[in-house]
Amino acid sequence: MAIQEIALTTSRAPGISLVDRLHGLVVTVDHKKLGLMYIGTALVFLVVAGLMAVAIRLQLAVPNNTLLEPEVFNRFFTMHGTAMVFLVGMPIIAGLGNYLVPLMIGTRDMAFPRLNAFGYWMFVFGALLLYFSYLGAPGLNGHGSAPDVGWFAYAPLTGRAFSRGHSTDYWILSLLLTSVGSTVSAINVIVTALTMRCRGLTLMRMPLFVWMMLVTNFMILLALPSLSAAQLMLLVDRYLGGHFFDTQSGGSAVLWQHFFWIFGHPEVYILIIPGFACMSEIVPVFSRKPIFGYPIMVGATTMIAIISFGVWAHHMFAVGMTSVGNTFFAISTMLVGVPTGIKIFNWLGTMYGGKIRLEVPMIFCLGFLFQFLIAGLTGVMLAVVPFNWQLTDSYFVVAHFHYVLIGGLLYALFAGFYYWYPKAFGRLLNRKLGLCHFWLFTIGFHLTFDTMHFSGLLGMPRRIFTYDPGRGWETLNLIGSVGAIFQAVGVLFLAINILRSLRHGQRAGNDPWDAWTLEWATTSPPPVYNFETAPVVRSRRPLWDVKHPEDPDWKYEESEN
């Protein structure tokens, strides 16, 4: 029990002033602190960008509303999208990877702790710069404020002629900075997973969470440079008089779309695969069964990663590609459905015949399964080119990707928060508050995004700041806006739960869920050095082997080979 005493004395030592604590956060290179700082910062931006979404929904609640000026509305949807992808999704993923990968592979820190801190601070710098645009972007004659060109910033809107002031420059520079942060953090996670695993933890015994983090971070390395390159070109256009995306001098606005989506589509999978990662850890533990089809899960994840680099132009069907191009990208897009479907069946297979415990993390996982399935189905619908032509840039598309990113990713991340919070803070999140969070958020989610499918089918285009009455959109939009408020209150319950449980939560102990991976073998919260002695692993579920020496997993796994 020596570890626990040391951990308690360091975290509760009296007389540490606030300044010292903040200083500790600034100079830390500990993967656990940095992981929590990533997630904490991202949650702040989740609230900021979420409030922007609420404002957008309030503006659209009734026809001809005048709550937001059109210019303000443009800035809001741009900042909402950019922040949710780069300042919420990416850092939460980096944070989970940082916190959990070293613990799960039985090591004491990341491969490059200082690089890790550098990555975090680059992200913070970029994030603050993006929001500083409200103050810093106005140029001569008061043009410009926050970026207002949409999160994919299509040319020629971003050209000097159409985007005066510095709003687009802030968009470029802040994202370049966060990209540097994401790249070094990705390299760090990959190197850690490949070179720091404890004795006996072969690649095919790695927890699926680590596998999927490995794949996702490889995708970051391959996809992000495309965005950075395109942004550098845009900077050349804006500041040095270049012509990359300047159609008047022979440049191509469509090339920007290609470069953006070569990044943009893999990015969607970069975001969702960590959601799969959480699912693959949580579903087995709460079904009391090992994951169904471990090697197939690894293969399916890799297949998704590979295929995702060949589907980007399905965002561009309406741009007028050749029919060969359209056909290729339609087929490759539908192909993604195969490995994704395999995953859904594997989670169901894990639950089938299991002893399911309906704790809050598992309830969020069930929400994920239903909603992600629907998101996948509308995705296959949108891969059909004529259907896509009809509904491109409509609210149907908005509904589809919010189903993926909220109904899918965010639910899996919420599940992860409830599952690993006791490891990070030593106390469980409150179950009642968690259930309130789940039901409020789920009701709100469906009110908002189910209705959007129909307003999209009825022809409502995305990004309009208001609409005339009499088109059949009023009721649907009003319901959607009411749903946004439900979701906001749901997140408020999560925030209260997180803050309240820090002090008043039920003590968790080392292993509250009776789980099987290495992070549960150490104390909660783990000591700075994670493990007193480096663990040795013989199977995919090392803690099962310890708890059941009479029937260990390695007997079966070794006879398999």
């Binding site: 029990m1 570890i3 491969a111 490059f112 790249t183 990705a186 390299i187 760090n188 990959i190 190197v191 490949l194 070179t195 720091m196 695993r197 004795r199 006996g200 390395l221 391959l222 996809a223 992000l224 440079p225 495309s226 950075s228 390159a229 395109a230 550098l232 070109m233 050349v236 256009d237 040095l240 008089g241 270049g242 012509h243 990359f244 001098s249 022979g250 440049g251 191509s252 090339l255 470069f259 070569i262 080392n510 292993d511 290495l518 073998a521 150490t522 493990f531 007193e532 002695t533 663990p535 040795v536 692993v537 013989r538 090392p542 803690l543 310890v546």
Partner: protein, 199 residues
Amino acid sequence: MINEALLHPNVATTEWKLPSSRKVAIVCLILTETCLFSIFVVAYLFYLGKSLTGPTPREVLELPVLSTICLLSSSITIVLAERAFKNERDRLFKFLWLLTIVLAAIFLSMTAREWHTLIYERGLTISTNLFGTTFYSLVGLHASHVIVGLCLLLLVFIFSLTGSLTQMHRERIQMISWYWHFVDAVWVVVFTVVYVIGR
């Protein structure tokens, strides 16, 4: 304590070897840099011959033969330097390392002269036409990588003069040399695309 039960004595005796962190990291860096260059190369190829005004590549570009020879042979000298360092032949290492630096510097100065001629005598700037935009971006991106490499090379050379470079740093020197080979390989691509196919 669970932690102690996790030590299987029979497994602990088997050999457990993992790749070097530095090597994996530098390979990852090279991978992501390759993607960055690919996008610029694609843009260059896509815009070939699409400039609405002159000058065209054929009119203004000359084959940079000498600077190419310098840069490519610097890959050889750095390998030889690495070997000299491994064999603890300190003076030979310093000589070969300095030679690598000189070759890199010659490459950069010749690029500078090429750009000077293009800008002041042949009237091609980054804003002249699409060719200028893509040419200066791609060649400039490569040159900036050469500059970063040159800084690393100089740093190592200064450390070797002050005597703070020991055998402990062998793998770090190897990583710099891997990065340098990458920069050279990119030049082969840039040379082929810009000066052979594009002209």
